[in-house]
């Protein structure tokens, strides 16, 4: 990056089935909080980037109405989309606008209202998250099916079990119970996860993130702006991206995500940080197997040993690398466009030591976000530090 970029404001709505708001009011919840957090008004924002997949809502071109409601008319928006990594694509675009010197203060907003359609429509839209004609059209693949193909292979090759995967769900629900903004705040047991309804075996209902509504926002600023505003910055130390084939069968291996490995390698090298330096991470646990693969793809665990890291409690609060202490996608919720920016919100809260009951103890204040789009079609890894 040409210029250093900092996060100087963050906001997030409550996630969940939000029948009490439309997409505009939902967006405002995050924008308002981010503006107050940064001590700025809309006048200070030079560019507004919006991430929303929008396929499941009535408002399929949601950026103008959401911007208007939030008092951001005239600040563009640029709308970006990268499936479940849409929020990170918005952050990536905003960060680069600042790093290039084009703008000093940029607001990135991510949101989706996914509960306006029913579950079978939602599964048919998610099933198109690959290659329509050669997958969904012929085989009726759902989004859980794609991740289930990874789970089955990981189980066969590395001996990962359904019990191991259930542990990721138990951990997520435990931490979400402490997060007032989380979608699912009930605790669950391994037995409850194992007995929950199969969706696309081996993935069961309690292995899956819920279908959620939510919004998140972050304000990015140049070093000059940080100095002028006397802001308390969290710095973007490095960013990486990766991608893979649209058809899942063409990938040749189904035990990890190449996109995430490539994104991680690029983020580590650009930030001069190694996996063992990372003290806190948000990982893309849309399904429980995804959390186990993320540990391996990010280098927190050796290939095939992701489940062991989880079993050993090394990813709990105050463990070697704390992961998803706000409840993860699994229990906090996964409103696609909001997720990547909710990850930045969470890591910034942790690095500022504003995370209350789930505050992790840091030595070097290094955090990371890992956001996957589609079933590994896109990935973004961002390293943040104080």
């Amino acid at each position: 990056m040409n210029k250093r970029v900092a996060v100087i404001g963050i906001g997030s709505s409550k996630f969940g089935r939000r029948n009490d708001v439309g997409i505009r009011e939902l967006t405002w919840e995050a924008v308002r909080e981010a503006l107050i957090d940064a001590g700025l008004t809309q006048k200070d924002i030079q560019l507004n980037v919006i991430g929303s997949t929008a396929y499941r809502g009535t408002e399929i071109y949601p950026a103008p109405p959401a911007s208007e409601y939030s008092g951001l008319v005239g600040k563009s928006p640029i709308r970006v989309e990268a499936a479940c990594a849409t929020g990170s694509a918005a952050a990536f675009t905003a960060i680069n606008a600042v790093a290039s010197g084009m703008a000093d203060i940029v607001l990135a907003i991510g949101f989706d209202k996914m509960t306006e359609v029913d579950t079978s429509a939602s599964l048919a839209i998610g099933g198109r998250g690959g290659n329509y004609l050669w997958e969904f059209h012929m085989y009726g693949t759902t989004f859980p099916t794609y991740y289930a193909l990874y789970a089955t292979r990981h189980m066969a090759v590395y001996g990962t079990t359904e019990e191991d995967m259930a542990l990721a769900s138990v951990k997520a629900h435990k931490y979400a119970s402490l997060n007032e903004k989380a979608h699912l705040r009930n605790k669950v047991t391994v037995e409850e996860v194992l007995k929950s309804r199969p969706i696309s075996w081996p993935i069961k209902l309690l292995d899956s993130s819920p279908i959620s509504d939510g919004s998140s926002a972050a304000i990015f600023a140049s070093e000059d702006a940080v100095r002028k505003l006397h802001a308390e910055p969290v710095w973007v130390k490095g960013i990486g991206y990766g991608s893979d084939t649209s058809s899942i069968a063409s990938r040749g291996e189904w035990t990890g995500l190449k996109a995430a490995k490539d994104a991680a390698a690029m983020a580590y090298s650009s930030s001069h940080v190694s996996p063992t330096d990372v003290e806190y991470a948000t990982v893309h646990d849309c399904f429980t197997i995804a959390e186990i693969m993320a540990y391996e793809d990010l280098g927190f665990a050796e290939k095939g040993k992701g489940a062991k890291l989880l079993r050993d409690g090394q990813t709990e609060k105050d463990g070697k690398v704390a992961v998803n202490l706000f409840g993860g996608l699994k229990a906090k919720g996964h409103p696609l466009g909001a997720t990547g920016l909710a990850m930045i919100y969470e890591v910034v809260k942790q690095l500022r030591e504003e995370a209350g009951p789930v505050q992790h103890s840091f030595k070097n204040y290094i955090g990371l976000t890992h956001n996957v789009g589609g079933t590994g079609h896109y990935a973004y890894v961002t390293v943040l530090g104080r």
Binding site: E116, S120, L133, G140, T142, T145, S200
Partner: protein
């Protein structure tokens, strides 16, 4: 309140891929190979991004393969309101990985014979 429903009907182009869809009706799986650089594409492609050539030939894929992974679809999407089905990925003797529906008791590593049901590729567990 209820929003206005949006009905989307699609007209999908399969021009240049007729051999694949005709093959399915005959119980065969066909795909394309670049005549210039020899790359095999599955799903088939009319163009080769590897050498920029569009001079492709159709080849018939071999029918023996092994299950790489699979999943049993219990909760179905719109358009597939039917009994459970098993989505699998099979590696065949041409070293091509294909998505298919598996019939029989699936297990990773088991041998399958590739055929079709007229509409899609089917892997029958041997």
């Amino acid at each position: 309140m209820e929003g206005i429903p949006l009905f989307l009907k699609y007209d999908v182009s399969i021009q240049g891929y007729e051999r694949f869809w005709e093959g399915l009706k005959a119980g065969e799986v066909w795909t394309t190979k670049c005549k210039k650089c020899g790359t095999i594409y599955y799903p088939p492609q009319r163009d080769c991004p590897n050498c920029l050539s569009s001079d492709m030939e159709w080849i018939k894929l071999k029918e023996n393969g092994k299950i790489m992974t699979f999943s049993i679809v219990k909760q179905k999407p719109q358009g597939f309101d039917q009994e459970d089905y098993v989505v699998g990925i099979v590696r065949n003797e041409d070293n091509v990985d294909l998505m298919c529906w598996l019939k029989g008791i699936p297990k990773v590593g088991k041998d399958v014979k590739l055929t079709t049901d007229g509409k899609r590729v089917i892997g029958v567990v041997v």
